[in-house]
């Protein structure tokens, strides 16, 4: 039980007035960001990241991860009260949450959503506490070929398992990897793809791209739609909270199932959306009266919320243990780690013990505090939607610009952000997914370094990626995954032929 001792140490790091205040500020900012139209988890974290540049890494990550939890909680408010999913993974919450609000049971639905978010995150944090150190110490034995194989696996699973058209995922990913290579080559010291443009020597900064892609483009997309809202206000009383909590044990199977789905899908990249739908559908399939789903059944709120938050939190596991983010927001947090001079990956657990365990402890504490905050302040946050978008939009634009400028104090980055805003707007409208691009941009240099180091070590022999059992099976799995649709289609056809015979 070494993990428990280290976790206690983590709580010790955390329990200072300064970090606790930052935690509250982060949570409130996060809920704010989650409720506002045109902002969500990844954009909120990206825009507010510059605030943390002058802090020490532990305070910074505590504040940022609290913004993330807050945004996750905030998304549920708009889904239930206004039928507007703040994020793609809150879509399934609207199926039963909004009907409940229409029936005057908004308080019950919100309590259910917040509580199940808490349960989902909690399950995932427990998983991280006990699994991450083990994975990290196993990964300490990894050499460059193993790391490249794991990166390859991440990229390939996006191509093979993503819902978008395959060639669009490939476009997004190779574009991101290519941009990651712009600037000074770290191995040879040569400049490449800069075309003599001195602003590009530094390379395309990941955070600038993210702020443009998620922040500015989201404003453009939001403006394009109808901004009219019609929803319910809600006030949560202690009696309602008690009633919902009392009913929790009846739904333990649903909660457990959704938490397990969420944890599993969160570790594999890009899983939160799939997790929420899968949680909902499975709860529906196993229910006795399937017809009551979609008409305001509390189980229909429990199932997707637990799964979505379990996966949102579990996405941090591969980031901490291997340096590979499981979601867009995790990728941005990873970008933050690099800004503060920490090298994400297995060594983090050895070299920066109090940082890692402070972060894990903050996940526990942040979720508890977050639950209390959302339960008590819902009416206030629902009222934020009354603030006209024409006041919010320019303020978001200014915050984006501040964020982009603060990274290198370069005006060029503000322009780059604007360009990425337009790119993000167009990409989203023609169905080129942004998550693979984000991931490729943040991992590009590390993947390339791992590839070149293993090539140098092996004297240019590609066989190094099959040189031992471990690296060989990861590489093979990666290749299988990238052709997964073809393979599963083929298997289907074969089984159909056999079943006919």
């Amino acid at each position: 039980m070494e993990a428990l001792g280290l976790l206690l140490h983590g709580f010790g790091v955390l329990l200072t007035w300064k970090t606790m205040t930052l935690m509250m500020v982060g949570l409130i900012l996060g809920i704010f960001v989650g409720v506002l139209p045109g902002l969500g988890g990844p954009n909120g974290v990206a825009i507010l990241l510059p605030l943390t540049f002058t802090m020490d890494p532990t305070s910074a990550i505590v504040m940022l991860s609290c913004i993330y939890w807050g945004a996750l909680f905030g998304g549920a408010i708009t889904s239930i009260l206004f039928n507007i999913p703040g994020e793609a993974w809150s879509v399934a919450t609207t199926f039963d949450g909004y009907p409940m609000a229409q029936q005057g049971k908004a308080a019950e639905a919100l309590t259910a959503a917040f509580t199940s978010s808490f349960i989902g995150s909690f399950a995932a944090v427990v998983l991280i506490t006990f699994l991450a150190p083990g994975i990290a110490s196993f990964a300490l034995r990894f050499g460059p070929p193993e790391f490249f194989a794991v990166y390859l696996l991440t990229f390939c699973s996006f191509v093979g398992l993503g819902r978008e058209a395959k060639h669009k995922t490939v476009i997004s990913m190779s574009f991101g990897l290519l941009l990651a290579g712009v600037g000074l080559d770290t191995v040879s010291g040569q400049l490449r793809m800069t075309f003599g443009w001195s602003e590009l020597y530094r390379g395309v900064n990941f955070l600038v791209a993210v702020i443009g892609l998620f922040g500015i483009s989201e404003i453009l997309l939001t403006m394009e739609e109808r901004l009219a809202l019609r929803g319910h206000s809600a006030r949560i009383s202690l009696r309602v909270v008690w009633q919902v909590w009392k009913s929790l044990p009846r739904y333990w199977v649903t909660l457990l199932r959704s938490a397990a789905i969420g944890c599993w899908l969160g570790i594999t990249p890009g899983g939160a959306i799939a997790a929420s739908f899968m949680g909902y559908n499975l709860a529906k399939r196993f229910a006795k009266d399937k017809e009551s789903f979609g008409k305001g059944r509390i189980e229909g709120v429990f199932a997707p919320e637990t799964a979505a938050h379990a996966s949102g939190t579990a996405a941090l596991l591969p980031m901490l243990a291997l340096g590979i983010p499981g979601s867009g927001t995790a990728a941005i947090l990873l970008g933050g780690l690099m800004v503060w001079g920490l090298n994400p990956g297995p060594l983090l657990f050895v070299e920066h013990k109090s940082f890692v365990w402070g972060l894990i402890a903050s996940m526990y504490l942040g979720n508890v505090v977050g639950l209390v905050i959302v339960l008590t302040t819902v009416p206030f946050f629902a009222a934020i939607l009354r603030v006209p978008f024409s006041a919010v939009a320019p303020m978001i634009v200014v915050s984006c610009a501040v964020g982009a400028y603060a990274i290198h104090n370069a005006m060029f980055d503000i322009w780059l952000m604007l360009v990425f805003g337009v790119v993000g707007y167009v990409f989203k409208k023609i169905g080129i997914p942004l998550a693979p691009f984000t991931l490729a941009l943040v991992l590009g240099n590390r993947a390339e370094d791992a590839f070149r180091l293993s090539m140098i070590g092996a004297g240019g022999d590609l066989g190094v990626f099959w040189s031992n059992g471990l690296v060989g099976s990861i590489t093979t799995l990666a290749i299988v995954l990238s052709f997964w649709p073809l393979i599963s289609g083929g298997v289907d056809r074969i089984t159909r032929v056999f079943s006919r015979a």
Binding site: V170, S188, E224, S233, A391, P394, V402, V426, K429, R452
Partner: protein, 182 residues
Amino acid sequence: MTVSNSETEIIVEDPSAPPAHSPAVTHTRIVDIVVSLLLLALALVMAFDNWRTGNSWDFAGPQAGYFPFYLSIILAGACIYGIVAAGRGRGGADKPFVTRDQLRRVMQVFVPTLAFCLLTQWLGLYVASFLLVAGFMWKIGRIALWKSLLTSVLFAFIMFATFDLAFDLIMPKGPLEALFGR
């Protein structure tokens, strides 16, 4: 946008919303092809540059251009596939990419944002953000002038207090800040 408020409901109207039936400016398929062509061109330029940098092997392993060169080839390949697929009209019905009224609304934010970036260079971030917030609320949001001015002054001041005074982040500044010796 007018706001009404009752006991149990929150209603926000949006009178200037784009109507549902507005002629399309262009279609998704065309934009798809144009974007693929642009990315293809970019990939080819990048491939050329990496070939010039060196995309083969020397005594120390792969040269600087090796990895990006093959990535540009992959990108180019995916783009060509995309162009062919879109040209054949596969991948679902052809939706309008943007309607005329939607484009008008998007420009309503994009043009002020562009102006804000330009102004930041001359006037500094804080003055530019005051102008952006005030102008946007008043002109596009049709919010009363005094409300717009009050909000934007407060906003600019809070930003200055947060970033410049509390967090020591140095933002672009202009003549106004110089006047106060900051």
